[in-house]
């Protein structure tokens, strides 16, 4: 069993470029920030390393940080430019009984994140959900299509500047 700070030190020694830092000031738990284009190698290491053995991805969730510049368009709707979209990974080791939370942040205009669905199969649908609702593009995902919304839906509903369409297939939405 290892604390999150110890896990961070192990990762930092192994991947000095890809591991960006640890935020220990949060009231909940420390977050380890990772480069979005190198997350897969780190996850393979976390899973296979003898001293870490993270065999379970409990949760993968997307978040719209909404930290760009906010402007209004002609109709008065919010438009956010710049900033980041984030993905959080909650990992658990059943063998060693320790946990860790990883975070990657990708630019809002081009949110590319490496898929970890080959590392933990549970990531497959979670990544599809993050793609469906936030538009995060998971590179090398085997089947990155919408999972909840209809396939022909436009836009990503959980983005903070999402604008609901007036009609969908002739049905009034609002």
């Amino acid at each position: 069993m290892k604390t999150r700070e110890e896990i961070f030190e192990i990762l930092k020694a192994q991947f000095p470029d890809a591991v960006l830092g640890i935020d220990a000031s949060l009231p909940t738990e420390p977050l380890i920030s990772i480069d979005p284009l190198k997350i897969k190698d780190i996850c393979v290491f976390l899973r296979d390393s003898e001293e870490l053995k993270f065999d379970s991805l409990m949760l993968l969730s997307g978040v719209d940080d909404a930290n760009g510049t906010k402007t209004k368009d002609e109709q008065g709707h919010d438009v956010i430019t710049g900033g980041t979209l984030s993905v959080y990974y909650h990992l658990d080791s059943v063998y060693l009984k320790h946990r860790v939370t990883l975070k990657v942040s990708a630019p809002r205009e081009n949110p590319d994140v490496e898929s970890v669905s080959y590392v933990w199969r549970s990531a497959d649908w979670h990544e599809r959900e993050a793609f469906d609702l936030l538009g995060i593009n998971f590179l090398n995902h085997p089947n990155l299509i919408r999972i909840l919304m209809p396939y022909d839906w436009e836009g990503y509903p959980l983005r903070k500047d999402y604008k609901n369409p007036e009609f969908y297939l002739g049905m009034k939405v609002n």
Binding site: L148, Y162, M171
Partner: protein, 163 residues
């Protein structure tokens, strides 16, 4: 036979209006499409089960829309589901009836303001006969809805409407 049981001796003729006879037959055997959407469906299943026994009103769940007289919209209608509901409704033979059960099917319910994926009332895609309020309605409320529907069927007429 209930109502008419042992009222006639052998060989008698009963005279009734066609409207009354057909309406009586229809309202006594409202077969519903076995179709549930959300938490209201749990109440609908409880209504069909032994304790509340929907069958005593002649309501039996059927597994195909071709054999169903009524559809109970029991739960949140998402936009994705609304297209399917419309198709199921179109596959049902006439005469067909719709009971909208619960706040979500009536008006969108808690998804009224921010539900980007919810149809705000199933009456936007198919014509509803009876609205049952509640979130979810208790089985007794669904009974009341069915009795209202039976009342509606009882007053129908096969006659062509004259101007």
């Amino acid at each position: 036979m209930g109502l008419l049981d042992k009222e006639f001796s052998e060989g008698n003729i009963v005279i009734a209006k066609v409207d009354d006879l057909f309406n009586w037959a229809r309202l006594s055997s409202v077969w519903q499409l076995g179709f549930g959407l959300a938490c209201c469906a749990i109440e609908m299943m409880a209504t069909s089960a032994a304790h509340y026994d929907f069958d005593r009103f002649g309501v039996i769940p059927r597994n195909t829309p071709r054999q169903a007289d009524a559809i109970i919209i029991s739960g949140t209608v998402t936009l994705k589901m609304a297209t399917r509901i419309k198709r199921l409704y179109e596959q049902m033979p006439d005469p067909k009836y719709i009971i909208s059960m619960g706040s979500c099917a009536n008006s969108g319910g808690p998804y009224w303001e921010h539900g980007y994926h919810v149809l705000k009332g199933v009456d936007r895609v198919i014509p509803v006969d009876v609205y049952v309020p509640g979130c979810p309605p208790r089985p007794e409320a669904l009974f009341e809805g069915l009795l209202k529907l039976q009342e509606k069927i009882r007053n129908e007429s096969m006659r062509k409407k004259t101007v």
